[in-house]
Amino acid sequence: MRIVEKRQLLSAEQIDRTLKRLAHEIVEKTGGAEGLALIGVRRRGVPLSQRLANYIQADGKHHVGLGTLDITLYRDDLSTVGAQPIVHSTDIDFEVDGRDLLIVDDVLYTGRTIRAAMNGLFDLGRPRRVQLCVLIDRGHRELPIEASFVGRTVETTDTEIVEVRLREIDNEERVVIVDRVG
């Protein structure tokens, strides 16, 4: 079985413009991002959340908290996997109780990752509100999860995969759709 690239969704420049636009939206719709904290979901949600935080804080007028969350221990699909996946650290050094949180991830698909992320967050305390921001929404939800902030919505088939490649992790910067053939 091979992986082949089918088409490009976003170029480096488009990713950047999308993130800037999302940053504006977030500030607007949360009334100035007062008390807001961004939680980047490992792996690629982390650099995305960092960039969003930078854009939000670029004008010096707004400030947001920033944390990272590893959802490995909260996944519900582990019994189907052979060896256990490696656990990484969650790094949230602020109080979660009563806080407005914005989960940031690269792709929203079935919704299970976000369900696990919420479990993880609620282990830390009781947030006042939790919202979701994703770069790509590819549909096919299996749980009642929605994102308030979406970079781009895209229609995909079951076998396709949306690959978000970021320079911090992948040494390149683009979003593509790949497919499994053979």
């Binding site: 221990l73 909260y74 582990l78 052979g82």
Partner: protein
Amino acid sequence: MLQRLQHLLGIEPLTVEQVNFFLDQAKPFQEFQRHPLKKLATLRGKTVALAFFEPSTRTRISFATAASRLGADSMNLQAESSSVKKGESLIDTVRTLEAMRPDGIVIRHVASGAAEFVAERLEIPVLNAGDGSHEHPTQALLDALTIRDRKGTLEGLNITIIGDLLHSRVARSNIHLLTKFGTRVTLCGPPMWMPPILEGLAPGIRRVPRIEDALRDADVLMVLRVQTERLHEPALSEADYVLRYQLTPERLRLARPDALVLHPGPMIRGLEIDPAVADGAQSCVLEQVTNGLAIRMALLYHLVGGAPADAPHPAKERSNATD
């Protein structure tokens, strides 16, 4: 795959990579101990059998808590293996447990080799919580984690282990682990508990009879407890032991100023360790306990969690990943 260790029977057979892997994997579980809500569902539905054939409070509670925080249930067997209970075969006890279908078994037993004995006869993962005088791998891992957190590394440290080395599985496991990282291990204890045959355990071990000499330049001091229950020969007089081997504040000053003091517990204050040292700034005993929980969670997560190695692969769930 490093995490695909089937059993944890001892430190001796592990590679440096495997040791580092489990020390690294303990980190998220260390962080987890600070959550207000310490309950995961990651091992939900799994059962861990705790087969303790030797009295133990701290290790058993540590494993039970680790299992519970991962969402697993535990089966508790506390069989006193006194010689009075003849006819109580280890094989039968363990097979009875197995028939209740636990997903893993943690075993502590008075006989060296008991963990291996059980692992050879069962189909489920076995974690050694201490077998006779042979190994106590989770203790060595939590000690290593404690040292690494405080010192930044295990490489090249000077370690001194003090006490009844001959009968100590904690000493053996620590020797096996720390010498994999190029440490210099110094043993110190009364001659009947520190025979020459211990020098062959690993490269770079030396025996030093006087505690004052053994402490010089030490980065880490491991104080062992005096195991009165495991002695077969006339015991050393307690007064002599205190005089010659107790870790006092004065003796501690002979080591490096930032030397760590570790003790596997339970401590007998006033025997092998002066209370001032036990409670002092250099003592790591409480961190050892916390780290013990993190290490055991990481081990249970990897060894007991997941499907068995030979389970058929069900249809893959939908996931936005290419691996």
